[in-house]
């Protein structure tokens, strides 16, 4: 390239691969300074919500202590933490059982969601008929179906997985359908002039460009997974966090502390699952600027 052709445009870029004048300019780069900035940002995003949670728990503890609230009605966070820890031999296996249901259910939801989305996208007649049906299916109260699902598939692992999938596949499907429909028409035309076939279009353009939508749907789905598994366990199960909570409610005297402890455990597990999906998302799309 001649020196003449190399104007400010090229020179500005030669300074670094990061875009110089974009909102992404402060994206952490590979430099140590960048890594420190990234760490600082992470601290800034994590600390404020933790402070809020801590403040709420402190206020709760204060009210319960000062007003001498009956612990069977509303135990304080301190008591909840202690009782749950003391009961860890019981809650630990329950976590394992429910996690298995939630994770396997999510796996089924992803399979079902992707199959629906790809069929809706691929065949025009299906798009007309299947999509409204799937949307309508979401108006059915799935909780009300839970007893039936148990009748159909017994009391084992399968009905729990089915229920989790029923709760969770919809956002995945909708996200992916939207993602597949949103691929850049210019890029599609470009690949057509390169004589790409349908499969190549799907693999090289449509799936990668649908991934962000897919993960948006998956992140919504994943927040339902534990709740759906617990609803399934309420209806009929021998073990799991749902059973654990039912047992604590039926105990005499009622163990409100353990019920609320289980609620906190479920919240933490859901957050963990969400974080794992976020991690997978980052690994699946290495081309995206780091958050």
């Amino acid at each position: 390239m001649s020196a003449l052709a190399r104007t400010d445009d090229a020179l500005a870029e030669a300074v670094g691969t990061a875009p110089p004048a974009s909102p992404l300019a402060s994206t952490p780069g590979p430099s140590p300074a960048g890594r420190r900035r990234g760490f600082g940002r992470r601290v800034r995003t994590v600390v404020p919500p933790l402070l809020v949670i801590a403040a709420v728990l402190a206020l709760w503890q204060l009210l319960v202590t000062v007003r001498h609230v009956d612990p069977q009605l509303l135990p304080g966070p301190n008591l909840i933490a202690h009782s749950t820890w003391d009961d860890r031999v019981n809650i630990w296996p329950a976590i394992g059982v429910t996690t298995e249901e939630a994770v396997l259910g999510m796996a089924l939801a992803v399979i079902v969601g992707v199959v629906f989305a790809v069929s809706i996208d691929s065949f025009r007649p299906v798009r007309g008929s299947l999509y409204p049906i799937i949307v309508a299916s979401q108006t059915v109260p799935i909780i009300a179906l839970a007893p039936l699902v148990l009748v159909w598939w017994g009391f084992g692992l399968v009905p729990k997985i089915v229920l989790v999938a029923l709760f969770s596949f919809f956002p995945i499907s909708v996200g992916l359908v939207q993602g597949l429909a949103s691929s850049d028409p210019d890029a599609m035309n470009l690949l057509r002039t390169m004589r790409a076939n349908r499969f190549q279009l799907l693999r090289r353009v449509r799936f990668p460009s649908a991934l962000p939508h897919f993960f948006t749907g998956l992140k919504i789905s994943v927040t339902y997974a534990y709740s759906a598994a617990i609803v399934a366990e309420f209806v009929g199960a021998q073990q799991g966090l749902g059973v654990y909570m039912t047992t604590a409610i039926r105990a005499a005297p009622i163990r409100t502390d353990l019920v609320l402890g289980a609620v906190f455990v479920i919240a933490i597990l859901t957050l963990a699952l969400f974080a794992i999906v976020g991690l997978i998302e980052r690994l699946a799309m290495p081309w995206r600027p780091k958050p």
């Binding site: 445009d9 035309n189 002039t193 990668p208």
Partner: protein, 267 residues
Amino acid sequence: MTDHRPNLELRGVAKRFSGNDGDVVAVDGVDLVARDGEFVSLIGPSGCGKSTLFNIAAGLEEVSGGHVLINGEELRDRLGASAYMPQHDALLDWRRVIDNVGLSLELQGVRRDEARRRALPLLQRFGLGEFTRAWPWQLSGGMRQRVAFLRTVIADRPLLLLDEPFGALDGITRADLQQWLNQVWSEVGATVLLVTHDISEAVFLSDRIYVMSPRPGRITAIIDVDLPRPRTAAQKEDARFLAVEQRLRHELNAAINAWGEFAGRQP
């Protein structure tokens, strides 16, 4: 370099689209020739059907009438007979620069490392050597267009179709890229059909310019640009350059006005 063999030839090409209020004639009776190694531009106001004509040449759309010949043959399926650069760069975000350039090779079944091996010297020769591993979002608009153009060149087709490649760029970057394109083109020696709405760009790059009038799109003038090559930015100040520019501007205004009078007579 030029052996006068027509690389792309449009004969009486017409395109109608059926709409709600009957058929719309987008282009009508278009004759256009781009011979081997020539740089030919198509210029006209927006909505004159130049993009339609362009998509026809690329094989993305069928003609309603007339003939399209590529290397003297009327192909039933023109897709892949030429290399196409769309208006927006259409770089795939999920491919590094080098893999965007090698895309067409991979689609033909070339392995990725082999495609990279062939893309690398091209990137290095034309000033993108340090960006091979970058993701598209890390590039400026001008750099993205360079990558998109090299992606078009690597397919090694005798005919390149460029649809307003610099339309979205600022003036300074655009002038820079025109010069860059000029250089790359003189080295690869392909036939180019460029669609543009920029008078100076058309004169600076072309051997011949076709002027189109809108609704229906027709060729109203053909201007031969008889300026010496290789061309430099300094030539833009030249009296001969300015004279061609002036003539082109005149023809373009005539094309627009003719349509204005025609439209003005409509009830």
